[in-house]
């Protein structure tokens, strides 16, 4: 069983792209006793080396990103409310009326707009755009707000974490779940030497993975992610992309990467041999750090294994423990197999 208490700690920590400190500190304190080397590079990535029982002839990197989608304060209005922009891909529909934590002090604020009673009929049917919203912290005016908030402060969703009946509802499962898988591997005994990177700034363009892959210079890589499941009542067939409860998601292609075909088959085969569920994506959608890693230096053979996750990039995403366990099992087994071929 994965350490779900640690998942809670990781998911409820706050770290939008470029502000991963809190998450990084948790990770470093968790893994340091178990790793052979832990460094933080210029980009803020955590680079880890752990010796296994054997030294393989290939260098394998396993990677997950630390950052989450969120918001950044851009301006303080005269009435003391905050203007902001999204950091990473958040739909307008996921923003209005949500509670937020602001800055290092985790000041409370809420996303505000004109109440429904005062809207025209067509306005009631459309979620307000991020540009039209503001965050209210209860300040009387700009002068008071400036004592608590500065442009550039990060804002994250302030939402519940619940792990009950085998399913988790939380913000930031993307990709604190991936971080958890890496931490669990580092804490365990490994068959082969492996490199791990906990990357920054995935959500704004796979930026940390690019530098991490450059400096580690791996031959092969596995990216551990949370990916879009859209198996909701108003999406059918292939539009569901992947299904919660149907196991580890092993992609053949997404918007950023065409995955290594042998590794794809290897991972599917590992799942079958382990007797855990696995599936692939039925749409070419999304993208992740693999996009930066597979194209690094002279090229890196790359695989991505993800947990299917509904309502990703919102305050309340949902995934099930069964799928999480499947991802962990597949990643472990495939890592070993990759180093044996």
């Amino acid at each position: 069983m994965l350490d779900y208490e640690l998942l809670k700690k990781l998911c409820t920590a706050d770290g939008i792209s470029g502000n991963e400190d809190e998450v990084r500190n948790i990770i470093i304190s968790e893994i340091t006793p178990f790793a052979d080397s832990v460094t933080v590079d210029n980009s803020g990535n955590v680079i880890v080396f752990k010796k296994g029982k054997k030294t393989p002839d290939k260098k394998l990197l396993i990677s997950a990103h630390m950052d989450e989608v969120g918001f950044i304060v851009t301006y303080i209005n005269p009435d003391g409310t905050l203007k902001f922009e999204t950091v990473g891909g958040i739909n307008d529909s996921a923003v209005f009326a949500k509670s937020l934590k602001i800055g290092k002090s985790k000041l409370r604020g809420v996303v505000s707009s004109k109440p429904v009673h005062l809207l025209k009929a067509d306005e009631k049917k459309k979620c307000p755009s991020v540009g039209s919203l503001c965050v209210d912290i209860g300040a009387k005016d700009k002068e008071e707000a400036e004592k608590y908030v500065s442009p550039g402060d990060m804002m994250t969703f302030d939402s519940p974490y619940e792990n009950k009946n085998g399913r988790v509802i939380s913000k930031a499962i993307d990709d604190r779940f991936g971080c958890l898988v890496l931490i669990e591997m580092i804490k365990s005994e490994l068959e082969y030497d492996m490199y791990f990177s906990f990357t920054v700034q995935e959500e704004i363009g796979l930026r940390g993975a690019r530098t991490a892959a450059f400096s580690i210079s791996p031959d092969c890589a596995i990216v551990v992610e949370a990916t879009t499941a859209s198996d909701v009542p108003f999406a059918e067939n292939e539009k569901r992309v992947c299904l919660v409860g149907s196991g580890a998601v092993i992609s053949f292609m997404d918007r950023a990467t065409i995955y290594d075909k042998e590794y794809y088959k290897l991972a599917m085969d590992c799942a079958e041999k382990l007797g855990v569920k696995a599936q692939t994506k039925t749409m070419i959608a999304g993208g992740n750090d693999a996009g930066a890693i597979h194209s690094s230096r002279g090229g890196v053979r790359t695989l991505a294994v993800s947990v299917p996750c509904r309502y990703i990039h919102s305050s309340d995403s949902l995934a099930v423990a069964e799928d999480m366990e499947a991802v962990y099992a597949v990643v472990r087994a495939t890592a070993k197999r990759i180093l044996e071929i």
Binding site: G89, S93, A97, S99, Y148, V232, L318
Partner: protein, 337 residues
């Protein structure tokens, strides 16, 4: 005040289920007033001289908006419809509390950003809630007709502002309870009924039936009013922190309204006014026309983001309005009977 409000806002009580609030109200009024319910689900507390000719009704609706479970599909997704004026814009990917046999957390379904721009037209006919549980388990825990409310935590903002769901109108209920506390040891020249009324958000049912049954001489309604915020016209709103918004309307009694204004000035409250050409959009519209007619006034707590999970009010405004009402009652209302 904060503790009273906290207790009320996290509670259930979607329109039609107001008696779920009975225990909370009873606990808060323990040793202060006797509490009872009636046929319409109103919760009523009585204080003062029961034989007095003068009878004042203080009203705050206790129901909250929400959703009701209408269907469970074979994948375990729950179909829901609004109860009251739900703001559909607040629903996508929001956490909700499904108040079934056992309370469970769920999320309102959306299509993710990789597949949509999130600009689909919102419709009250396509609200689906996801618990992540298999259909069998969902059917065991949830029945058709169960309530769903948006998940919300009590958040303290700067300047004693509070952000949480159901401030409409649990903040009004908290004001009534605080007013009762202030009157606890007073000898009152009148009888006063605190009515925590039902189904305001759907039909103002409870205000009408309770006013008919109680036949008060005067009534004051406490509800939330639009606070000034971006996009809200000045003439339709009051400032948070101004003390309260006093309504002036043809359906309201000038004597009651003037007495409220007079007491607000005595208390140095800088109240804002909301002038309505017709009805007030509050329970006052039903109460004033109930039975042979009831002299009615309205004072509102300025509130931002009404009908969302993050409504905002000021505790200071609530405290001031409680004090104003307690003086109103202590002095026997607007005029002697």
């Amino acid at each position: 005040m904060k503790e009273i409000l906290k207790k009320l806002c996290i509670e259930k009580g979607v329109s039609g289920n107001e008696t779920e609030m009975l225990n909370a109200v009873q606990e808060l009024l323990d040793g202060i007033a006797e509490v009872e319910t009636d046929n319409s689900g109103n919760i009523i507390a009585v204080m003062g001289d029961k034989n007095a000719d003068k009878h004042i009704m203080l009203d705050a609706h206790i129901d909250r908006i929400g959703l009701v479970v209408t269907y469970i599909n074979d994948e375990g997704f729950i179909k829901a419809e609004p109860v009251g004026g739900i703001d559909l814009r607040t629903l996508p990917s929001s956490a909700v509390r499904i108040l079934g046999r056992e309370e469970i957390l769920g999320v309102v379904c959306t299509v993710p950003p990789h597949l949509s721009k999130g600009d689909e037209e919102l419709s009250r006919d396509s609200i689906w809630v996801d618990t992540g549980l298999p259909a069998e388990k969902v059917r065991e825990l949830v029945s058709l007709g169960d309530s769903i409310i948006l998940y919300s935590e009590f958040k303290e903002l700067l300047n004693n502002n509070i952000a949480v769901s159901a401030l409409d109108n649990r903040s009004g209920c908290a004001v009534l309870i605080r007013c009762a506390e202030l009157l606890k040891n007073e000898k009152l020249p009148c009888r006063v009924s605190f009515v925590f009324s039902s189904q305001e958000e759907t039909s103002e049912l409870g205000a009408g039936t309770s006013a008919f049954r109680l036949r008060p001489y005067e009534a004051v309604v406490v509800d939330v009013g639009f606070a000034k915020q971006s996009g809200v016209p000045d003439e339709k709103s009051g400032r948070i922190g101004c003390g309260g918004i006093i309504s002036i309307s043809p359906v309201l009694s000038k004597q009651v309204t003037n007495r409220i204004i007079e007491i607000s000035k005595r208390l140095s409250m800088e109240c804002d006014y909301e002038v309505c050409g017709g009805g007030t959009g509050t329970n006052a519209d039903k109460i004033s026309a109930s039975g042979c007619g009831v002299r009615t006034g309205v004072i509102s707590i300025p509130s931002k983001n009404m009908h969302t999970q993050t409504e905002i009010v000021s505790l200071e405004d609530m405290e001031k309005i409680s004090e104003l009402l307690s003086i109103y009652v202590k002095e026997g209302g607007a005029e002697n009977a």
